[in-house]
Amino acid sequence: MNTITQPVPQLQQTRRRVPPELTILLVLVGISLTFEILGWILQGQSFLGNTQRLSIMILQVSVIGIIAIGVTQVIISDGIDLSSGSIVGATAMIAMSLAQVGTFERALYPGLTDLPVIVPVLAGLLVGVVCGAINGLLIAYSRIPPFIATLGMMVTARGFAKWYTKGQPISFPTDSFAAIGKGLAPVLIFLIVAAIMHVVLRYTRYGKFTYAIGANKQAARVSGIDVERHTVKVYAVAGLLSALAGIVVASRGLTAQAGMGTSYELDAIAMAVIGGVSLSGGRGSILGTMIGMVIFGVIISGFTFLRLDAYYQEMLKGIIIVAAVVADVYRQRKRVKTA
């Protein structure tokens, strides 16, 4: 039978969808305007009109934003990373201990002072990569759930940070180390990291593999992807970015403490999730996370601006995070229904 001439039935073209980032952006605009209006009513002044407030806000969220970039790719690959905050603490300690000035007589390593800035930075980043890779190895090869593996790292890394100086803070960094977190430098670092990761996720094989594994691990495997090896990479990158955040925090504060970065992991996850990164994997983008990060910042600085009690702030923050996810899930469901 000759079938060459037989037409295959026309399958309808799928409609182009509104990018999810756009709806999140609208949420951001909505929240900002709400604060603006409340500002005029309750405080008699503009919320958005104050550039100083806005730059403080961006600065505040940038450090956690760096972590959120790493966490975004972890969540896209259908994982989770609870260890980021503790890795911040551990790397802050290690980097700072190698960044002290020689004129400070009680330096942690008196023989290792006034080192070039690259030494503490690389040491910190290395620690982050190692912690992340351990997370990844545990998850990929011993098949424990990401939640448990990174929970273990969270506790261990924090313990390490405390043990490192028996709880003592480390201070007096060199000028060049202190420059890393000065002024708006953290914002710049964040933007560079975000831009790189945006390109990586969208235009490189690394990115495609990350989405593929998150969307369907078995399908990724039969497509010839080495799922285990890639998982290790994803967590190592997340560890690297947590370490970078740790270095920035230590530099900015001119001191490192074992408790630094506590609960950053949750804020970072919240930013990603508000930004539309799906906790079931396979979906999300850096743009979304960036918007999620700004929403997060606007909420916090908005509440402070309205002089809301700190306790109320926390409660409301929790509610807003959940509301954002509910809205996202609802949007997804509606879309699937009409598809």
Binding site: Q6, P9, Q12, Y203, R205, A212, Q218, A219, A339
Partner: protein, 512 residues
């Protein structure tokens, strides 16, 4: 000029290939906890042939294919590719050795585009080393043009129907330009039209010397496309023949070890009053003005091409995605069905088309899968499930449908595709519905079990159950239905009575 040594080597390869064929498998054994899936099986595939692999559900066909595709490792036996002994350690390994596979349980990445799914790991790059999405879409369009598939390369896979997904899988497997192509039930969700399209692709590949292993439960496909075939039964090798040497009954006898005479035991039974009436059901942009009625004891077939939105109508009736306008009347009174649980309260049951996405709880065991619908409405006292009764009901039903599993506590993920389908049928039959909606009920089910399921459906109809059956297999629709509603692009294009329905008439209405 070829050096004498190279010439000698080439001659050697050719000789070895002649002797063993393209792919020669010998003495393969594979055991899973509690089951010997394969016991000393063999398979020999020659260049440029289509080799059908036949056997009942759970015979071990997919298991062997997964071994060839590097997904499972055999416990014993050898695999020769062009005469050379090989070990296939991973899917990547198999792909690199020129073995590509279309998986029975669709293996696509949701939320990614069609093009990304096809070219994953092989994405074209631009001069900056970044992925060139434009080029990738073009490559996909070229591939689709060659295969005559009409699908948007930039569409998201999660928005495709099962049939469209199957086409993407086919395209991806072909895109590897492999020397061996394994197709594990590639047509289970396709209608005759798309199947014809696939067959012309297969003939083309065969012409180019590719060896194709083809698994199907559709007998007529075997005679249309296969040159040779091998039969497995219960994990054992039964025999291989040229498909011209045997007839349908011979093969069935080899597969099941007994004769099956009546493929579609249709019993004409008295048809009662109208129980379900659907009036002008519409979801704008999906389907429009769907009206039909269904009587007690009637089997109403719903036929149409892929994309005719038959499944969407079924989903609307069952409240999965309620229609935006139109009426549903049960026993003459208008009802609003806003959710599946509301539909079940009205006595509906709905076997969905996509067993992996909307059917099975893959990580739960067989018993939990069978009982899940039943215990939402009955057999629960004070929050506790009356487990002994339910287990007994489930066991009886599983036995009747001949579900092949060591016991009902086996995780469903480990069952063969056809056996998973049987569990889902068992789930809905246990709820004793008044109106049973079946979407591709025998998808991936072997001949023996198929006639058993047909017998069960007919038996239910005889007891007064109204059945709405969507099927892409025309012989099934024709054999089972009292009336047939044909849909075309979201509209009813005609209704045929059993007496004057023919394949040609249905296809005419379906294609317009």
């Amino acid at each position: 000029m070829v050096s004498p040594r190279t010439a000698e080597a080439i001659k050697h390869v050719i000789e070895e290939t002649e002797r063993h064929g393209l792919l020669a498998i010998e003495g393969i054994r594979k055991e899973f906890p509690g089951v010997v899936a394969l016991d000393n099986v063999q398979l020999r595939v020659r260049r440029g042939t289509v080799h059908a692999l036949m056997g009942e559900n759970g015979a071990g066909k997919s298991t062997l294919m997964k071994i060839i595709a590097g997904i499972y490792q055999p416990d014993a036996g050898e695999i020769r590719l062009r005469g050379e002994l090989v070990t296939l350690k991973s899917p990547l390994d198999a792909l690199e050795q020129g073995i590509a596979m279309i998986h029975q349980e669709l293996a696509l990445m949701n939320w990614m585009t069609v093009a990304e799914n096809i070219w994953i790991r092989r994405e074209p790059k631009n001069r900056f080393g970044l992925i060139d999405h434009g080029r990738m879409a073009e490559m996909t369009a070229d591939l689709f043009a060659r295969l005559r598939i009409k699908l948007d390369p930039r569409a998201q896979v999660s928005e495709l129907t099962v049939a469209q997904k199957q086409m993407v899988e086919i395209a991806r497997a072909v895109s590897y330009d492999s020397s061996i192509l394994i197709m594990d039930e590639p047509t289970s969700a396709l209608t005759d039209r798309e199947v014809e399209g696939l067959f012309s692709i297969i003939r083309d590949l065969r012409e180019r010397g590719i060896g194709i292993v083809y698994i199907t439960h559709k007998m007529n496909e075997l005679f249309e496309i296969a040159d040779e075939f091998t039969v497995f039964r219960d994990g054992k090798y039964v025999g291989s023949h040229l498909s011209t040497d045997v007839n349908r009954d011979d093969i069935i006898r080899m597969m099941v070890g007994r004769d099956i005479t009546d493929m579609f035991p249709k019993i004409e039974c008295p048809i009662g009053e109208v129980i379900l009436e659907v009036r002008n059901l519409t979801i704008p942009g999906v389907f429009h003005d769907i009206s039909f009625s269904l009587r007690r004891g009637e089997i109403l077939g719903l036929a149409g091409l892929v994309g005719s939105k038959r499944s969407n109508v079924a989903e609307a009736i069952f409240g999965v995605t309620p229609a935006t306008s139109g009426e549903i009347l049960v026993n003459g009174t208008a009802v609003t069905i806003g959710s599946p649980s509301a539909a079940m309260a009205q006595g509906f049951a709905f076997l969905t088309e996509d067993r992996k996405e909307t059917g099975c709880f893959l990580s739960l065991n067989c018993l939990e899968n069978i009982q899940s619908a039943l215990i939402t409405r009955s057999h629960v006292k004070g929050g506790f499930v009356d487990q002994s009764t339910v287990t007994k009901l489930a066991e009886d039903m599983a036995r009747q449908l001949r579900v092949k599993t060591p016991n009902l506590y086996e995780t469903v993920e480990n069952l063969s595709g056809g056996n998973q389908q049987k569990l889902l049928i068992a789930r809905w039959l246990l709820t004793k519905p008044r109106i049973l909606i079946l979407d591709e009920p025998t998808r991936g089910i072997d001949v023996g079990a198929k006639s058993e399921i047909h017998r069960l459906i007919t038996g239910l109809a005889a007891e007064g159950v109204a059945v709405l059956m969507i099927s892409s297999e025309l012989p099934e629709v024709l054999g089972m239905s009292d009336r047939i509603v044909v849909m075309h692009e979201g509209r009813v294009s005609g209704v045929l009575d059993r007496a004057d329905a023919t394949q040609v008439k249905i296809m005419d209405l379906a294609a317009r």
